[in-house]
Symmetry: C2
Subunit: 313 residues, 2 copies
């Protein structure tokens, strides 16, 4: 008899969110990575050749694939030698700023936990998925994996000890995500950041982050809009993103609340209060990019409020 | 017939609030400055000799007294040449970190607005009181005058344009304020700050401020406590405050949520979930200070939710 199998989807995530560098992230409803997992009768993690539009060339070595690393960390944590077979459907491009590696590891670790009868709470899966971020981008960040697992807006208040704070957000918040077809390695886009910043800029940044958190929790859309400003990271990283300024202007002209870099880029996100604005702005952003002869993918969705979840597949 | 007179109290305020340097402040119920004002039949601002425990030696020149400067700015804004007589009861020591200059200017400008039949909304009085902060501490800060006028927790998201955000807070939040009898000039305690900071410290700071804002709005006391940390300003300024470390330890050992410098010091604030803890911690803080032969004033009160208000006096 075939062992029980399960399919789990984990969503793309927007980290940093303009003023919340290395602190804030949120999940969207589309796109998602999907993992189908099966328990094996013998120990060991076996990854089948990766499928999906961005699966080509991805490692099937469990120590080099974020899904494998996350599941290995999970097994270590629950002191189990259970074996798994993993099929990964890679729908998120790597190096896109969409939290691609986080989506794979979140889906895999969520699936493993489900198959084992939920020995851990979802929050406790975050450190397992963070382990996988180390091999993906050189640091065990949580601002993609936490929202990929939990959904919604998530604040990483502290790493030692890990303190994950769910930030309530209004129901009518739509995200436009533009993924230009250029690749940026997270490591490279971190390298260009300065290790010292001006105190006066930091004050501007934390005042905006405080405003954004207040705006999200109290459903104050104009405040969210005024707070979506990044005076520290965006001015530096945006030079790596072709056409960033015209794309952002196109979004703002079309009525979005705010627009900035998704994660470490090159993807660009915008937030809107309604789907029509989110779509219209997205088309304008895509058009602005096409004028410098670059193609892109466009995703428009509500904020994802559930995170990773079991799907029929 | 004597012209109409009015008395207004405006409270002490705690600016910075650990992680919210130059961005966040809140008001307490005690102590307060009081202004009694009377409309004159002729133009001009007349300040009578300042009364109260800290009135001695304060200037009665309207251009050098924060109450006078604030009222002059108010009159300019409403294009009036109305004259006023101001009696200031100075209950807050200058250079204490309790928002002393802000309390006087807030009370005065609030009183003038009341006497004139409220030509301006309270929020519009903030820029008038900020003008007075320029002469008091060299910069037009709003993190004391805004909570002194409005009450509660107030975020200054932006100065240009001025964006004042009221932050809801839980009902059961008590503030312990210890004022050591040493004077620190705001200008001096600003001078020792570095104009450049580490990005990694800034991330810690804005993560904590985001946590504090979320904790306040959602009444999550443990989160408020975990977030009340200042890794940038406190380590530098606390060296100017005799016994700071032992006072803070005394507060934390007695169950407060958190403890840090009030404004630019030397006063020290702590937040607690109940009055008994706030009192007990205050006594322990005062005791710790007395062991290095320094006297102090101790104030314990709820968060002030109304700001400046007309009183019978």
């Amino acid at each position: 008899m075939a062992n029980k199998s399960i399919s789990v989807a984990a969503p793309a995530t927007v980290a940093n969110v303009a003023c919340g560098f290395d602190a804030l992230g949120f999940a969207v409803n589309s796109p998602s990575d999907v993992v189908t997992m099966r328990m094996l009768d013998e120990p060991g993690i076996r990854i089948l050749p990766v499928r999906g539009p961005y699966g080509e060339g991805l490692s099937t070595d469990p120590a080099k694939n974020t899904a494998g690393v996350a599941v290995a960390s999970f097994l270590k944590r629950i002191k189990s030698i259970q074996g798994f077979e993993i099929i990964l459907y890679k729908n998120l491009p790597l190096g896109s700023g969409l939290g691609s590696s986080a989506a794979s590891s979140a889906a895999a670790v969520f699936a493993a936990n489900e198959l084992m009868g939920r020995p851990l709470a979802v929050e406790a899966l975050i450190p397992c998925a963070m382990e996988a971020e180390k091999i993906a981008c050189g640091a065990a960040h949580a601002d993609n994996v936490a929202p990929a697992l939990l959904g919604g807006f998530v604040l990483i208040r502290s790493y030692e000890p890990l303190d994950i704070v769910h930030i309530p957000c209004p129901e009518n918040l739509f995200c436009t995500l533009l993924h230009p077809h250029v690749e940026l390695r997270t490591e490279d886009s971190r390298k260009i950041l300065r290790s010292e910043i001006k105190l006066i800029d930091a004050i501007t940044q934390w005042s905006n982050l405080a405003g954004l958190i207040a705006g999200l929790i109290t459903a104050n859309y104009p405040l969210i809009g005024r707070s979506l400003q990044d005076v520290i990271i965006e001015p530096i990283r945006s030079v790596l993103i072709p056409g960033f300024d015209v794309i952002k202007q196109a979004a703002l002209k079309n009525g979005v609340l705010g627009c900035s870099i998704s994660g470490s880029g090159p993807s660009i996100f915008a937030l809107s209060t309604d789907e029509a604005t989110a779509n219209k702005a997205g088309q304008a952003m895509q058009q602005a990019l096409s004028e410098i002869d670059l193609t892109s993918d466009l995703f428009v969705s509500r904020i994802n409020m559930h995170g990773a979840q079991v799907i029929k597949f």
